[in-house]
């Protein structure tokens, strides 16, 4: 497969990731958001495979596999289990109106491209539009977390923004060293577990969503 094709494919995947992220931003339903994140992970995996083919780097294959297994299967499954356990109603309660969220999101995307437009030659180091897309994804993920009330949606946002990071990392030639990737993913899983436990704990002890607690201030 030629570099140009790979670059075009990566760009297209980046666009897809952005779209899914927008979906998450706009989605009024928790499950939809979760599935969107899973989809992102799949795209990520595909991107990894493509880069693997292009650069002939075996590690990327494995990483792509792990990514799909963990982020597209394991984490969503975990989230859904938690959702089932806590039996919250499935609608997402936005902290700020979704319309405003979307506007902010658009602004962030513009910012990302604007910023990376100033980066000159180094753009070649990172395949195609991976950099601005990565920035946008990372920030948008955080925007999701900031704009949603429920703890679970915050986890969703977190994973989404991490997808952005992975995307950029892969797009960087050769990807990150294998061991690092593994470690990072491990951390993500651990973190997710701990968060999940906390959510359940609060739900069982004091029957409320952990993200609604706001007694500590000032």
């Amino acid at each position: 497969m030629s570099i140009e094709l790979a670059t075009r494919l990566i760009n297209d995947l980046g666009a897809l990731l952005l779209v899914t992220m927008m979906l998450i931003l706009a989605s009024g339903q928790l499950f939809r958001a979760i599935f969107a994140v899973a989809a992102q992970a799949v795209f990520l995996g595909i991107a990894g495979v493509i880069l693997g083919i292009v650069t002939g780097n075996r590690d990327l294959w494995i990483i792509a596999g792990i990514t799909i297994v963990v982020k597209a299967v394991l984490l969503p499954w975990l989230l859904i289990r938690v959702v089932k356990r806590v039996q919250i109603q499935r609608e997402i309660e936005p902290a700020i109106p979704i319309s405003i969220t979307l506007i902010l999101g658009a602004a962030i995307v513009v910012l990302a491209f604007h910023l990376s437009a100033t980066l000159g030659p180094v753009r070649q180091a990172i395949t195609g539009n991976a950099l601005p897309v990565g920035v946008a994804l990372t920030l948008l993920g955080v925007l999701v977390m900031a704009s949603r009330k429920k703890a679970l949606t915050q986890m969703v946002g977190l994973f989404a923004s991490e997808n952005g990071i992975f995307f950029t990392a892969m797009a960087i030639s050769q990807g990150m060293p294998f061991i690092i990737e593994i470690g990072v993913i491990l951390d993500v899983v651990l973190g997710a577990l701990v968060m999940g436990i906390m959510i359940l704990r609060v739900r069982s002890d004091v029957d409320t969503d952990i993200a609604d607690l706001e007694s500590l201030k000032g």
């Binding site: 910012l111 910023l115 955080v142 900031a146 949603r148 007694s215 201030k217 000032g218």
Partner: protein, 684 residues
């Protein structure tokens, strides 16, 4: 202002502390004595060194071990340092003679206080002797902390805690200013020792030096209790044990003054040409304001030690008047002699104030330790119960009221001469300022006299107005001895000031570049003070306090002889005339009553408010009892500090109340911060 303060909170709250004795066992007592004796020895040694240097031997220079890689530390005792070292040591000697039996009398934590005392005195000495910025700063802060411990450790009542806090905050603010000045200089000098700093300052331009000087003035002023930075002083000084109050008023404030001298005349002064007039103006103005304001507020105090504390503000003002005048006159052609005169006056007053204010605080302490209160209204009739204290206190009062033939008058006379002659020389605005300062100084003298007529009269004369005063007894010998030392100093400095001038020679010569004090002031023998620098070659005033005193004494003896000539007409005692009623202590004039006319005259400054509660008796015309309570405010405190504090707190409260506790807010903050930083710094 609390009009009545219990000097000893009943039942000490600190006894749980291991360093606090349980009821002063013999071991503790020995430790206390030992500590004070050690301090005494140290003070004597310091005094010896100071006298040697002042006597004309070469400056002492001691290189300290290099504790920090970035600074050489050293001690350097030149004339100026030596003089202030002497001041510190004189008071320290008296205090450490006086201290043990005082602490034995009614201290709550003798050991802690002894330890702090043993840190406090050396730190003051070190500040005076410091040869580099780091030593100076370390000793400076050590001094502050030790005195803070001494202030708060006496009792555990909330007011003293507050006083200590206020003191500490003001001192720390001052230190911050000093830090800025010192470090700016060290940055330019690439070294910490004073000579290098002076060179660096010389290389700076005038405006920068002025800014630095003003900062230094701020820093030292906060410590010296210059109005309007004085508010901590009347709160903190009374709270400490009395011999420490004596040290704080007599010595610590002088250390701050030393700082002003060191910076104004040496470190920041340009090697060539006169100082910027703005410096002299500021110092002179601040001095005048402090002098008047301090004494005015002192007049209305009924807490004996608080009254003395306010007088410290006044005297610091007088010292600064001299210093400011010296700054204005110095380095200008034709006025060198006057400048030296002014400087000598200010330095001499420093020494004098150390002597009589120390004496007065020790006296107050001896009263307090016998009556367990600081409220003058509860004293009275002590002159017959504790005569030594009484007469020594009277001596101090005469001295501080600048009345001849004691030392207070001498330095104030010199200041007057310098002001008048200098004012004539300078003319114009500066001259007018000098004239105003002179008039204010005159007013200050009158007010001080009134104040101490009240203080001495109400405290020691008349009838006892409380059980404690009724049964008071004379203080133990060591306390008396401590007071006698300072009293001796007062008399000596008053009667033969010419010898004191010898002490001033070296500092004045260093600061003024050549002209020494005794060449100007004691040119005509040690018994004659002469104000050099009369206009147009005319000889200026000369005065001999010695002569005046001896004449006074002669006449007094003669009159006493005539008065007590044996005559047949009898001498008998009778009750005081109170329009035929049997006199009780309620007929005595109280401090409040004594100060009332002035309260009315200067109402604009005092903003007095009074409350009269009357319990109606059987008939509406005959109330069972009337309770009068009045108080005056410290204008700076109410107008400035209170509002400032309130504003800060209010703003903080508002911010705290607004701050979110919701996690979305947190996340939003993170996101916003990142975006903003990216926007601001992200592009090349």
């Amino acid at each position: 202002m609390a009009t009545s303060v219990r000097a000893s909170g009943d039942g000490d709250k600190l006894t749980a502390h291991p360093l606090v004795d349980k009821g002063a066992g013999p071991v503790v007592r020995c430790a206390v004595w030992l500590g004070h004796w050690l301090t005494l020895a140290g003070a004597l040694a310091g005094a010896a060194v100071a006298l040697r240097v002042l006597g004309g031997s070469a400056p002492v220079h001691v290189a300290l071990p290099k504790l920090f890689p970035f600074a050489e530390m050293s001690l350097h005792v030149d004339g100026l340092s030596a003089f202030f070292l002497l001041v510190v040591c004189v008071v320290a000697v008296a205090a450490s003679v006086y201290g043990p039996s005082y602490l034995g009398a009614h201290a709550k934590a003798p050991l802690v206080q002894t330890l702090a005392f043993m840190v406090f005195v050396p730190c003051m000495a070190l500040v005076c002797c410091a040869g580099d910025a780091l030593t100076f700063l370390l000793a400076w802060e050590g001094m502050t902390l030790a005195s803070y411990v001494l202030v708060v450790s006496d009792t555990a009542d909330a007011e003293k805690t507050r006083a200590g806090l206020l003191y500490l905050i003001m001192a720390h603010a001052g230190t911050a200013a000093l830090l800025a000045v010192f470090l700016t200089l060290t940055v330019h000098a690439q070294a910490f020792d004073f000579p290098a700093l002076r060179d660096a300052a010389g290389r700076l331009d005038g405006s920068t030096r002025t800014v630095l000087f003003m900062l230094a003035l701020l820093g030292f002023g906060a410590k010296a209790g210059v109005v309007p930075l004085h508010i901590w002083l009347p709160a903190a000084h009374p709270a400490a044990p009395s011999h420490v109050s004596a040290l704080m008023s007599g010595a610590m404030l002088k250390v701050a003054i030393y700082g002003i001298f060191r910076f104004g005349f040496a470190l920041l002064a340009s090697t060539t040409g006169p100082l910027p007039p703005s410096w002299g103006w500021t110092v002179l103005f601040l001095g005048t304001v402090s002098a008047v304001f301090g004494v005015l507020l002192a007049l209305q105090q009924h807490d004996l030690k608080r009254l003395l504390a306010y007088h410290s503000v006044e005297n610091i003002g007088i010292i600064l008047i001299g210093a400011g005048l010296a700054m204005l006159l110095g380095g200008r052609p034709g006025t060198e002699r006057l400048a030296t005169l002014a400087l000598a006056a200010s330095l001499l007053h420093t020494l004098n104030h150390a002597a009589f204010k120390g004496l007065l605080f020790l006296g107050a302490g001896s009263v307090v330790s016998r009556t367990f209160t600081r409220n003058m209204e509860e004293f009275g009739g002590l002159a017959r119960r504790m005569p030594w204290t009484a007469w020594l206190f009277l001596l101090g009062s005469v001295a501080i009221s600048a009345l001849p033939p004691l030392n207070g008058f001498v330095s104030e006379w010199m200041t007057f001469q310098a002001l008048v002659l200098g004012g004539a020389r300078m003319g114009g605005a500066s001259g007018l300022l000098a004239g105003i300062a002179a008039s204010m100084l005159a007013l200050t003298g009158g007010l001080a006299a009134a104040c101490f007529a009240k203080a001495f009269g109400v405290t020691f004369l008349g009838r006892p107005r409380s059980a404690h005063a009724e049964h008071a007894t004379e203080s133990p010998a060591p306390m008396i001895a401590g007071m006698l030392l300072l009293a001796g100093a007062c008399v000596a400095l008053g009667l033969v000031p010419g010898y004191a001038m010898r002490l001033l020679d070296r500092p004045t010569a260093e600061v003024m570049g050549g002209l020494s004090a005794s060449a100007v002031v004691a040119a005509r023998g040690p018994l004659v003070l002469s104000a050099g620098g009369g206009p147009a070659g005319l000889e200026a005033t000369s005065i001999s306090v010695t002569l005046a005193a001896s004449v006074f004494l002669l006449i007094a003896v003669a009159v006493w002889f005539v008065r007590s000539w044996p005559r047949k007409a009898p001498r008998r005692l009778a009750p005081t005339w109170t329009c035929g009623m049997t006199p009780t202590s309620r007929f005595d004039y109280t401090a409040t009553a004594f100060a009332k006319p002035l309260r009315l005259i200067f109402a604009a400054v005092y903003r007095p408010h009074r409350a009269i509660a009357r319990e109606p008796g059987p008939s509406p015309y005959v109330p069972r009892r009337l309770v009068y309570s009045g108080e005056v405010v410290d204008l700076t405190e109410t107008v400035f500090y209170a509002r400032f504090k309130h504003a800060v707190t209010a703003v903080s409260q508002a911010i705290r109340a607004r701050s979110t506790g919701r996690i979305h807010g947190y996340i939003a903050y993170v996101l916003a911060t990142l975006v903003i930083v990216l926007l601001l710094f992200g592009k090349g």
